[in-house]
Symmetry: C2
Subunit: 155 residues, 2 copies
């Protein structure tokens, strides 16, 4: 996998949060997964399968951030993560992956998306089990952090 | 999705745990997801994509059960969930889905598997975001419970 393949996911998340929630997240430097691990309170995960590749993507949010996204998008701020927040994370996962799929398709890198799964639980960690490189981008915002992680392996 | 499609996953998990860990899990009744939710301490998730379908599968374990599986398979029982346990859950996820894929393929229901992702965190919950039916099977064992959940939707 090319290290640049993380960028369409990064761009796509920034687009989704800025257009839908009017929030500007600050992306950190894309990195090969090493010290940093994706850790948060709610995550959207999705599988991707193409003819020459397969992989997985996760977006992980700290509670403070996703509740603020909910507030900015829907005008209501629940006191904690509930089913509506979970549905929102599922939608964001689909939108971000769909956006990245289009950008990567233009470069001749094609895959189909599975359906998303959302995991909720205080301080959970995510580990992608793939033979390929694992790429991570941290995002910061005054209300909390987020992480995107992807990996693809050749089939 | 046919409700019977959960059975190959159920069979496949029982095969894996009985042959590799010499442990007999007791499956509960397969059910459309309603009251029960998959809740546990470590989960393996995987996406599935076929020409006419896409979906997701999760296996969720309570800590006591997965540590006992680890003990029976590798002769060592860590005091809590660590990276080796996480790798084991990734392997089990691949094996169970691979086994179910073969069984479903014999019935003409074909899909490709993405790569698994493992989530660790006390008492997390899993929500599959799919338009299709969500099917769940609980498993019990004296050392803890497990859940398989799958959903497929037509593309």
């Amino acid at each position: 996998m090319n290290v640049e393949f993380i960028n369409p996911f990064l761009t796509s998340l920034l687009n989704v949060t800025s257009t839908m929630a009017m929030m500007e997240l600050t992306p950190g430097k894309p990195q090969l997964k090493g010290h940093d691990i994706a850790k948060g309170d709610i995550s959207g995960l999705i599988g991707m399968v193409g003819q020459q590749t397969k992989g997985s993507m996760s977006i992980t949010f700290e509670e403070g951030l996703i509740l603020e996204v909910m507030n900015k998008m829907l005008g209501e701020k629940p006191s904690n993560i509930n089913e509506e927040v979970s549905d929102l994370v599922g939608e964001i996962t689909n939108m971000v992956t769909g956006g990245a799929k289009n950008l990567l398709g233009e470069k001749g890198y094609n895959f189909d998306m599975a359906t998303p799964v959302v995991v909720a639980g205080k301080n959970h960690t995510i580990a992608h089990k793939s033979k390929g490189k694992k790429l991570l981008v941290p995002f910061t915002h005054e209300s909390g952090n987020a992480y995107i992680e992807i990996c693809f392996e050749d089939t």
